[in-house]
Symmetry: C2
Subunit: 376 residues, 2 copies
């Protein structure tokens, strides 16, 4: 099925949205779809939290074309909850059923080198970077940066996994072998004042809307909490949104895209011959995003619902929020405090139904709301 | 399993809540339970909208004790989405697993005569009523009322089904036979200024909280829309809440209870020897209620979540609302306009996933939010 004239015909209630991946993001998308009278069918290599709330779920290998074909025949459109779905699976599915966001976003987002190159080619500033395939590459790039940097595998890795900090006079060979000689990218470490993300939704008709930008606080490479409003100058938020819009346009994107940025504070020149900038894109995620979980409680229409609306070809809903919010992730055994958390006034408790708490595993989140101040 | 000392130990995430009934109320309860990391298991005589979002669902007869026993063994607590669950089923389950709200609320709420008598015995005003088992009973009661009245079957019937309007000089025999000679109750028709409902939640520890009272507008016996705030004097709201609290206490109730009332405006004397009143209880529903659907969008914690919290022995969440709201039911083919409704700014769309639209069938609802005015 190709995306032809019918691409703008919204899928009616009763249609089925296929979701690749069975974790908490798929779970929250499935619930959002159900609210709109849409069915979901999860396809995942392992059983996960989404299996409990979706009418249909398949455990299958992403490389099993028979299983993918059966899945494609049972759904009207496919989306995904994570950017590491094998591109071959998305390409295979795309021959049979629309995949949104498409495989272009996937191809770019799952390779950090390709992602940085793509964004830089749009005229958007990213941290100085270099491809690293061996110790010599690393040594050469470190000489050029002459500053602390982070070596990351080009593929896979999330929540700080697959990353090594490298000092100018550090042990380059050790860093490369810590990543098991995997193709990598070296990124210059930047001093920044704040981390923020843009949550942008783009519909099939190109209509775009933005949630308020959260300010994000990481700990040990994992998102710890996000706050809205971000408490940053409105000119910064506007610029961040413009950047995100440029990226979604270039990808002909459909759905929620998250763009993570560093705000440097005072504008800085990051590389010789470049203008001073105060915003730098760190990475993009072609999916609903952890830094947007507060939208479930602080907005009438969450990022999950708007992603489903976009993917199903529906009109987008308002991204306005009615409250200020702080979203805290519950990592590992933090979720064991559910009873205490549930008794806190104004805490919205979200638990993902994972059977086992492990260090660093996202088990749930809490959103604390406070009333919007009247506009004066 | 009896309700002993452990009654106040909340069920931990991963526990299973059994729900009798598989319609949209069960569906919205199942989604709320999932958010808290709780599983649900639906038991219903027919497959319905809840089957799509619950990890387990059983189609079974409410009179099949083997099926009920299997269900009871698979769940940690049982609740229900409608008051016409056979009391025998609830009683049977209660021997094996806690049933909340208990069978007392069920027994009372499923018999209109018993319900009115129970409420009146608490010193709360209801419309003048009389038991009607035959045409003679009806004639006698109509002579006493000397005013238009409504003949309702004592059992079953909802959304205006099983009801007949009776005029003082009407055909009594026809009215009785229209209800197929079923045991009935005659209620004097009251002139009222407004209909409102109280949505009260009571926890296992007796803690009680109230959502804002919606004002309800019916059409052809079916709830058409509800608005919050109700636009009624605060003294009326306070009195309505006191009435609801009295009822929940008397039932030793756990969960959400809806109390539907008529506000008469000027206080009236309804029966000789009684004081003038301005609030009259119409009926109670021992469950989450259609007039509380706006809480999904206008409150951080919905009636569904608070019902699940109460049933699971969790602390109740705040019932505060962040926005004003109007909730419109989508009846029958009104839901066919989903595309237009989804494009309306500020409309939160809820579709129940029912396969077939029929006249009078609730297919979904829309909540329209408007920002709370700052308190001045």
């Amino acid at each position: 099925m190709s995306e032809g004239k019918d691409a703008l015909t919204p899928l009616p209630p009763g249609s089925t949205i296929g979701i690749l991946g069975g974790g908490q993001l798929a779970r929250m998308m499935a619930v959002a779809a159900a609210q709109l009278g849409l069915h979901t069918h999860i396809f995942s290599d392992v059983s996960g939290p989404a299996f409990d709330v979706a009418p249909r779920a398949t455990s299958g290998d992403y490389n099993d074309q028979d299983a993918l074909a059966t899945f494609a025949a049972a759904v009207d459109v496919v989306t995904y909850e994570f950017e590491n779905v094998p591109v071959a699976a998305a390409d295979f599915l795309q021959l049979k059923v629309p995949v949104r966001p498409g495989s272009k976003a996937l191809t770019i987002a799952q390779d950090r080198l390709r992602e940085k190159t793509f964004i830089a080619d749009l005229g958007i500033t990213v941290a100085p970077f270099a491809a690293v395939d061996c110790t010599d590459d690393l040594a050469q790039a470190m000489r050029a940066f002459n500053a602390p940097a982070i070596l990351k595998t080009r593929r896979l890795g999330y929540d700080g996994k697959g990353q090594q900090t490298v000092a100018p006079k550090g042990d380059h060979r050790a860093a490369v072998s810590a990543l098991k000689e995997a193709p990598a990218i070296l990124e210059k470490r930047l001093e920044f004042e704040a981390e923020l993300s843009v949550l942008v939704v783009r519909g099939q008709d190109g209509a775009t809307c933005f949630y308020d930008c959260p300010r994000n606080y990481h700990s040990a490479g994992i998102l710890h909490h996000s706050t809205v409003p971000a408490g940053l100058p409105s000119s910064v938020i506007e610029e961040a949104r413009t950047i995100a819009a440029t990226i979604t346009e270039a990808l002909d994107y459909v759905g929620v895209l998250a763009v993570e940025l560093f705000y440097l504070g005072e504008p800085s020149v990051l590389a010789a011959g470049k203008s001073a900038v105060s915003l730098v894109v760190n990475e993009i995620a072609p999916r609903v995003h952890n830094s947007g979980h507060w939208t479930l409680d602080a907005c009438a229409i969450s990022q999950f619902e708007n992603h489903i609306r976009a993917v199903a070809g529906w009109p987008l809903g308002s991204a306005d929020r009615h409250s200020d919010a702080i979203m805290h992730n519950l990592i590992g055994h933090e979720a064991d405090d559910w009873r205490e958390l549930a008794s806190q006034d104004g805490a919205c408790v979200h638990l993902y139904g994972k059977r086992q708490a492990r260090d660093g595993r996202k088990m749930g989140h809490i959103t604390r709301l406070s009333q919007l101040r009247p506009k004066s």
